[in-house]
Symmetry: D2
Subunit: 347 residues, 4 copies
């Protein structure tokens, strides 16, 4: 770390800082300017003397970290890209993987109809919420275990592996029994107990970005999971909160190439939650893939106006198939591929 | 709700919407303008036909909710202010209540020394984290159950009731055994399982605002707790995330009078986390009380530079005592009071 | 507009409001619910009784506008897309137009070298700042009129039309004498005097989005220009301010398809200012085109480390040529085209 | 500045950087760690080699500035507080100064009535907009020069000095002829030409914070003014843009003590624009003063529901008088004073 001293820091304050740093093994380099003293501290025990402790020392103006606070997720020490397997589907390879399905599992007919339709259109993984985090206690909270059972049924019927959200450490085991991939939602990105628990599983994890999480905080959340031994983590950008209200959230597509530089983990994009409007899902899906996304997760409902949650952002199965058809030449132009329907879609 | 139709909505789309609304009991009022049709829908079953479902109907441009989505926390149906009791301390009454203590419980000496000092200075409740939510898995995570034991010891030694954070449904019972008030931290404001569980307890709850939570989402989180039967909820503004990086967060003091208008629950302010800098804690504590806050929660550490977390935002006990002395004439000017040391503080 | 009355609005307050609305010609529709009264007001004189005036009336809780506040820029009344001509270049047609050049004009050699290189690579318009808005009075402020002269020289040498920023009503005429297109920068998006003045010109305008401007405010800024009679406006998304600091700004690509729905004006994207990092310019350029952008404006400098402003976000001419080569198959996949170098670029 | 090199920076890249730094006079200190090299560069010519140029050099990961980019506004070199005089009113002294008046000057009667009422209530300066920046070209744009004439009339009638906004370099002279203090609005905070022009005047300036301006950018805007020789600058916090929509803007009261630490300039607060709701103006006025504000600027209108702009945030004269009465004991508690009506206000 680099420590910038206050302009009026005393000699004693500077010396006190230096001896504290040396105590825990830091190499100390002093730059004495006319206006200020700057101290470089490298190689010491950062757990023994954290940045925050240094910032609280008298005479210190601020501390600038030099190395990223994460290790396991960093590409610096792991240059080759990680590939995550969900059933027989590979995320992080040449193929752009489409994950699709309803926001919430509502009943057997809705789910099976959607599962078959998205499979026919080219989806490689089925999504569907059994446990739903809802802002209001009066909103539909998901079918719970019954929803998990229906998802397993849909997997049997279609062969698609399933991804579904775990909300809670207590129901995690239940979810893990049925799911092929565990989703950690945006609201739980810093539910550290849950992160530790999915880290102890041997199932791939889809880690959504928190609504106001910086890229660094997001990577630290992934670090929690990897730190427990689970290396099968996929990051999912789903929009952040800004002042703009024309869309539900603000999709931060710069995060995709930025994450690919900082980390070896695959990155996918959720244009449905990011925008909250189905008409924007197609252009932003194309944009996400052009930015380098390894996959997309898209809400599809056979009848959006009947959906128990998030209808306005759901595509119909036909629109979803059209989207994958439009993606095909674009992925080809990017040197990648996408599974898509071969015939012409009815409009 | 009010439904604004698209400019090119067809007669059939409008009629379809109206019949859907009437089916579930809404009274429907149609305003036919030259440019657009607007439909007022009042009094129907909002669970049967949610705003989102209406938004997904063809021809609908947008839906404007008319009533707030929360009920139990609302002042509309509960005009008198709620008073929350923590041990024998009353939050929401005439007294401005100071809650103080270290960010994290570190060891017996640190905690007891701080507890006695903040009590002497005028604090009415002791705070201290046993389970700490930390962005990085490599940061100090708290003493856990041992921390709870030390808090109980500090209560015995000082008589101060204690508030401490519950991170997880599994350790909640442990926390509830020792604590006089359960804190739900900003990162868990939408951990709905945890909200439901503290809702089922008969202990007062300190509900911090999420980093990017709107006031409405925050009140809905409180609604989750009240919906389970626990009416002893105190709201705590602790800064939101904005583009400004000069302070750790942006303290939204307008939330204090706004919440007092919308809700009957008491509101306190955490200037330590809001700013991340101890020098700003005093002026913002004064400002919070002037804005109408019912209390303050402030980090105090006997030696901020040795703190295992959040040192730069901690006051020393002496500075905390000085703060309460400065608060005293201000609370008097506001027609309220605050407990404070009577003597002159050493500088 | 739709007016939601307070729950405790009196009969007199409601009647007062209704008579005010009728006075200025509104058709009034009353929805009387059990909890609240809602009033629809359509077709009246909005200038005579603005939303804000209604909101200030006693008994009114809030007012919801029904129609967009802009007219001339709206696609509702002008469904066909506008095409803007800069010299012989068409923005808003089938071709994706690349605008490129240095952030600031520094000297003749730098500008001519860059102009020739970007022309060879496929750029259709040359950009370069003569008047530079700089946060600090101590930063390089641009060459001013000398910069304009050099831009004109570069146009002569290359045949590329030029776009450059006008900062001020007083130097606008000077800029207009030399430029083929006037840029209004993000900081001036709500400099209404300047908007009016460029509205009175007959030169095309590149209107950048303000750092914290909503899409609606941005379209209203364009409305100012069109209202004075200038219909040649191109909108430029260049990133907005959010809490994320990993990139200079947060590029809001959802704005591109959203603007295409709301407005008939062409939309281009500036990935250089949006990210502040040249390594992110290529992936976000591809993403912008995939989202439907009609063009790109990109900073190119022959030697970014010598640039007097914004070096870290500038591409070298070679990297710019590589970018256009990568764009070519993507635009083809989108049914569009882009001018690009035919040969292989040296790496 | 401190320069953090990339982990894989080559020896040649490091040496190139060092020689560039030495060329322009920097003292260079090298810290060689196991993971990275850090270079401290102090005392050189920052105009000759800006931070941005260094960031663009190969091998550089990032550059951390050490000293603030502003000088004249900084308290570091000017520890005593500046006092600004508007007529015979002193801003930045012991008295908390109330500035009040209508958002826009509408007509003689409205202005004189308001001026007399706010004077009677304790206002020391009259505010009123003659030139109004409005998001929409269809909104009332102010009376222009006629508004200035009426303001001068109101000054004559009441003896209150007047502050009014200058929108444009061309009308600045007109404004300066009539006004006692020039307001630079939030939208013009980075209109650098206008800043330079008011810097050349010898009239005090009220510089509002931009909607998304950091504290550093705001101080740099003040630096522009002081750099031209005008030292009479008052900073005005008026709310920033965040995701929260319950209030018009988010009032950042932490900016008040932060500015008092960083700068010697007086700081006032505008609770009317910050909240957009008159009911919040009183509690936030009290809070602003408790946070250390040197004054308040408040919208007052004799009949808010008739106001041509910003009615919902205007106080009536009676409510304004009540506010100053409530402020009186609070300012006394803070060791300051405020002018206020001595009698009891009619409710």
């Amino acid at each position: 770390m680099v420590i910038v001293m206050q302009a009026d820091a005393t000699r004693a304050e500077i010396e006190n800082l230096i001896s504290r740093l040396k105590e825990v093994g830091f190499g100390v380099h002093i730059s004495q300017g006319t206006e200020r003293t700057i101290i470089g501290a490298l190689g010491g025990n950062r757990e023994a003397l954290a940045q925050q402790a240094v910032e609280a020392l008298p005479g210190v103006e601020r501390v600038v970290p030099v190395v990223h606070p994460y290790k396991l997720v960093s590409r610096e020490f792991h240059p080759e890209r990680t590939v995550v397997r969900v059933g027989d589907v590979v995320i992080g390879g040449e193929e752009v993987v489409a994950i699709a399905g309803p926001c919430a599992v509502e009943n057997e007919r809705q789910l099976l109809e959607t599962a078959q339709a998205v499979k026919a259109a080219g989806a490689r993984v089925l999504r569907g919420g059994a446990f739903k985090p809802r802002s209001s206690p009066y909103s539909f909270q998901g079918l719970g275990e019954e929803g998990l059972r229906l998802l397993a049924l849909a997997r049997e019927a279609t062969g698609l592996p399933i991804v579904t959200e775990a909300l809670d450490v207590r129901t995690l085991e239940q979810v893990a029994t049925h799911a092929d991939m565990i989703q950690i939602g945006a609201r739980n990105m810093q539910n550290f107990e849950l992160l530790r628990e999915v880290g102890a599983l041997r199932l791939p994890v889809l880690l959504k970005r928190g609504l106001s999480a910086t890229i660094e905080e997001w990577l630290l959340a992934a670090e929690y999971i990897m730190h427990e031994g689970n290396e099968q983590v996929v990051l999912c950008e789903r929009g952040i909160r800004s002042f703009e209200t024309a869309t539900r959230n603000t999709l931060d597509l710069a995060a995709v190439p930025m994450l690919h530089r900082l980390s070896h983990l695959p990155v996918i994009v959720d244009p449905s939650h990011a925008t909250g409007r189905w008409r924007l899902v197609e252009p932003l899906s194309l944009a996400a893939v052009a930015a380098g996304a390894d996959g997309l997760i898209i809400e599809v409902h056979p009848n959006p106006a009947e959906a128990l949650s998030d209808g306005p952002q759901s595509l119909t199965p036909t629109r979803f198939a059209t989207l994958l058809q439009k993606l095909a030449p674009l992925t080809a132009a990017m040197g990648r591929s996408v599974s898509h329907p071969s015939g012409v879609m009815p409009q």
